[in-house]
Symmetry: C2
Subunit: 323 residues, 2 copies
């Protein structure tokens, strides 16, 4: 029953609310620059009231990757929870309009569709404040043979472990995916997320996950290392393929210690770093599921990451590879 889906993403379905800020705003709301903080609805209202005019775009880390893969011409599917409200409708439209096979209908009840306040600093760094809303209701009941089917890759999002029923849902996805012959991939989301769920991530990597997407800080947190070199040394003991993005230093792929090194693409001006890692992952998986060599996957990743950081928002609206 392999219906040709290259990547099924399972993640928090979020609409981004993007606004430019001065760094003093981060101090005012007590948010570490570049961090992702989970906030409740009351706090979300407070912060929104302090923010300037914003624009709205569908977002979410692995959801961005799924959209990016579809943008590249890949066959993608998605499991994530929105409510049947206006922002949920926007999220669903943006996925479906790219041809993504959306596996869950919007929920009739429960919390509103998730929002993430994306606060963009003048140098393009982004700081995230996420109100998970409907994402908190994702549960094992949503992960079935019908919704998972038999994709080539199932890409899980570390952030889902933050939801109360997220770990059980992810365990079921790994189990069903394994049965269906899917390769399990995991995006580590952010270093604070890794600190919150280090043992769960290590267990998943040791038992199910074959491809791990991370940045330097995340891999350091995962391996309890004090430096990137130490982390690289430690991951060479794992079975999985580690795909590690390093911002302006490009990326490096470690396959049990065998390295593939890729430079970053030239970027004229960093506008907004939102989605750089997600775009890299999309392009990497597009190449990988088309059986391209790792170097080519990494190079495509660099190109797409460069495209997304030269615009506002975590998804490229026009074709990724235009220009």
């Amino acid at each position: 029953m392999n219906n040709g889906i290259q990547v099924l993403g399972i993640s928090n379905a979020i609409v981004d609310v993007l606004a430019h800020i001065e760094d003093s705003f981060l101090a005012q709301i007590g948010a570490p620059r570049g961090s992702m903080t989970l906030i409740d609805e009351k706090r979300a209202h407070e912060i929104y009231a302090l923010m300037g005019p914003a624009m709205e775009m569908s977002g979410g880390s692995v959801a961005n990757t799924v959209a990016g893969l579809a943008n590249l011409g890949g066959r993608a599917a998605y499991i994530g929870k929105v409510k049947n409200d206006q922002l949920g409708g926007i999220f669903m439209h943006d996925m479906r309009s790219l041809g993504v096979d959306v596996r869950l209908p919007p929920a009739a009840d429960g919390a509103s569709t998730a929002r993430c306040h994306v606060l963009i600093s003048p140098d393009g760094q982004r700081t995230l404040q996420t109100h998970l809303g409907a994402c908190l209701d994702l549960s094992v009941a949503d992960i079935t043979a019908d919704t998972v089917q038999a994709p080539r890759v199932i890409l899980l999002e570390g952030y889902v472990w933050d939801a109360p029923h997220g770990p059980a849902a992810m365990a079921e996805a790994m189990r069903l995916g394994g049965e269906a012959g899917a390769v399990i991939a995991l995006s580590l989301s952010d270093s604070f997320c890794v600190e919150r769920h280090q043992q769960a991530f290590l267990d998943a990597i040791n038992r199910h996950v074959r491809i791990i997407f991370a940045n330097e800080a995340e891999i350091i947190a995962l391996t309890d290392s004090s430096s990137f070199d130490e982390a690289m040394e430690k991951i060479s003991d794992f079975e999985g393929l580690f795909v590690i993005t390093r911002s302006e230093n490009g990326s490096v792929i470690s396959d049990k210690g065998k390295l593939v090194v890729q430079q970053a693409c030239h970027v004229d001006k960093v506008v907004d770093t939102t989605g750089a890692g997600d775009a890299y992952t999309a392009a990497f998986l597009f190449g990988w599921t088309n059986d391209k060599p790792l170097q080519e996957c990494a190079e495509l990743g660099s190109r797409c990451a460069a495209a997304v950081i030269q615009q506002v928002g975590g998804r490229v609206e026009k074709s990724f590879l235009e220009d």
Copy 2:
């Protein structure tokens, strides 16, 4: 009771849904390039389903102008109708976050907040498909001494004449504004709108309106002319100040035939023409209400129009005059 408001805008309150398209898409949906078409909810759903991924931003012509004036540091107020739904909340936030004094609360019942599908062609031309929703409920009951107060200028939007109770509401605004000593200004919206409401606009201009904002096509339609020169000749007979934008040919202001000519600012790349006229109007009125000479008002207008067409969306998110 002049509370220092420079401009009160009264208009359709709309959230824009912006997507890049190929011109063949316009042929597919039967929309003339560069036009604004009013569509009902069913048609709005149909077109949205055909559109690619989009981003959402508060919009609306005079609403953009009001936001732009506030962005420039002006004191602005706004009357327009949204529903108490997620998009209505976004519209209200974007206004209030700029310091705009919003005079109507969101409606508890009735149609959803208006959406405009902004279809952006590769050369930056935009074609609009508007579903007026809650805007259709604006009525004379919303226009009171309390909501109008005593601004220096009241800026009316031609599009409001398309709403069933719009003409009565605008008549009341002109009456109350006149009593309060406000200058009445009118933005003609688009040439098709002028054709729909030519006599009403001429009556308003002859009786109440002191400043008219228009582009070439609109002024030709208003005066039943066959050329721009003929239209310019005809408007010299009117009492009002005509402020006419001419895209890459800059702008010209006609004060009973006495002309002030302004060149357009250099633009590297036209990204999206949405809001160019609105931004010009904002800057012009900012200058005018600060008692600047017409030439200076026009020059500021050109600068702000150039800023807005080099980005996606009808409002500049950062300061208008940065860079």
